[in-house]
């Protein structure tokens, strides 16, 4: 329970940072996607089920945020983020926590998928066919910037996750 509550709080904090800090540090009006980075990292560190739920709630909160901004498709980001978290959970067993290569690679892949899905559903279907423009101007820069953010923040995520796991273990021990 305690783990769940602290994870939920982390998601909310990430969302607030995504809405405030991330636009402030955007370069050439490209904003990094902190939520993808968060979902991928925690999916990798905690496994399939956890990654899936974290992705789902991150996406759902992002959807609500976007609802405030006037794009009313709720469940759309929740769906993408959930699958990204779930697929990252598959790498849980073959992954050492302090290896930074894996999260970086998966973040890149996750953000690429996210960009492609958003482009296809919200732009291609309305007849914006200049795919390479969107790839060059938005999808690839966002991916690179998100990877950089992951490189910096992964240590922080790792520390937070260790803390959460340690607390959970201690409370179980004291219970027994």
């Amino acid at each position: 329970m305690r783990t769940k509550v602290s994870l939920f709080f982390l998601i909310v904090i990430c969302l607030i940072l995504q809405c405030t800090l991330m636009p402030a540090i955007s370069i050439a009006s490209v904003t990094p996607n902190l939520m993808i980075s968060f979902t991928v990292s925690f999916g990798l560190m905690r496994g399939k089920k956890s990654g899936m739920l974290i992705g789902f709630f991150s996406g759902l909160l992002m959807d609500m945020m976007c609802m405030v901004l006037g794009y009313y498709v709720v469940g759309f980001r929740a769906f993408i983020y959930m699958y990204i978290g779930y697929l990252c959970g598959y790498c849980y067993q073959i992954f050492y926590d302090d290896d930074v290569k894996m999260p970086v690679l998966l973040t890149a892949a996750g953000d690429l998928i996210y960009g492609l899905v958003v482009y296809t559903l919200q732009f291609l279907l309305r007849g914006r066919v200049d795919f390479f423009f969107y790839l060059k101007r938005i999808i690839i820069p966002e991916m690179i910037y998100t990877v950089l953010v992951t490189l910096v923040l992964y240590r922080v995520f790792l520390f937070l996750n260790n803390k959460i796991e340690k607390t959970a273990k201690r409370s179980v021990d004291s219970f027994v």
Partner: protein
């Protein structure tokens, strides 16, 4: 142990299946139903707005300090230049004022309504730009229904049209700018009085231009440099608000309509304060 893992595996697959189903239903529901007035959304807005405006103030303070140390010489030179510009503009202004008086008296003679009544405006601060992803051009301002704002009010910055309020909460409102990919504005060219549509396009955002389409101009009278303003026939935009100037124009392949590009008068990269016009366009019920 082995059985346990398998059970865990199926369980997580089951959850995945149900959550996917939930997402699907939500997506369909959000197309079928209007979520515009949900209390949930209001709650998100009410919680996030103060946090955003707080962090924005911190950022603004820092950038203000940076600006303070800006090169002094540059400011002096700029001052000189502006002074000469003021002189020039004063002369022009006196002439224009005289013209305006004459025009008004002539209009009174003809008993015409004054074309641009003075709209009631309220200033607001931009507290967050983008939907924090890179695909859209909307922003949030720090006033809402508490200050008398409502959906469909026009938003200006300086002399030009910025966009329209699409959503409003107690202490915030969302503005969709005219450069957003989803935006379409009914407009007309002042010189020729032909109507057209101004459509935002993400691929033109960097150049600060918007697309001009469906211009009904059989004699190709419109030329580069002409002024584009909102039209009389728009449902939601008030007439006569400046949008920008034509920077490119050409006849479409159907030989009936023209299209081109319009460079906006508002610099969308650098919007900090906006003016919201509190008058709504009159509608036929």
């Amino acid at each position: 142990m082995k059985k346990n893992t398998i059970e865990e595996h199926t369980k997580s697959k089951l959850i995945l299946f149900f959550l996917s189903l939930f997402c699907g239903i939500m997506i369909i529901a959000s197309f079928a139903l209007e979520f515009t007035n949900s209390p949930l959304k209001d709650a998100v807005g009410v919680v996030l707005t103060p946090i955003q405006s707080g962090i924005n103030q911190v950022g603004g303070w820092f950038s203000g300090k940076m600006d303070y140390f800006e090169d002094n010489l540059k400011l002096v030179a700029q001052n000189e230049e502006l002074k000469s510009q003021v002189d020039q503009l004063t002369v022009e202004n006196t002439q224009l004022l005289q013209d305006k008086d004459e025009l008004n008296s002539l209009r009174d003679l003809y008993e015409l309504d004054h074309k641009y009544e003075t709209y009631e405006k309220v200033g607001a601060r931009v507290i967050s730009k983008d939907d924090s992803s890179n695909w859209f051009s909307t922003f949030t301002i720090d006033k809402g229904t508490n200050d008398g704002l409502a959906v469909d009010m026009n938003v200006m910055s300086g002399a030009g049209l910025v966009g329209i309020i699409t959503d409003v909460g107690p202490n915030w409102a969302t503005v969709r700018s005219i450069i957003d990919d989803y935006s379409n504005v009914s407009a007309q060219i002042t010189e020729t009085e032909d109507t057209c549509i101004i459509a935002g396009d993400l691929s033109l955002t960097d150049e600060g231009t918007v697309r001009l389409v469906k211009l009904n101009d059989p004699n190709s009278k419109a030329k580069v440099g002409d002024t584009v303003v909102t039209s009389q026939i728009s449902d939601i935009f008030l007439p006569g608000i400046l949008i920008g100037y034509i920077s490119e124009i050409g006849v479409d392949s159907n030989n009936l309509t023209s299209s081109g590009l319009v460079s906006t008068v508002v610099d969308f990269k650098d919007i900090k304060e906006v003016l919201v016009i509190k008058n709504l366009k009159q509608k036929a019920e």
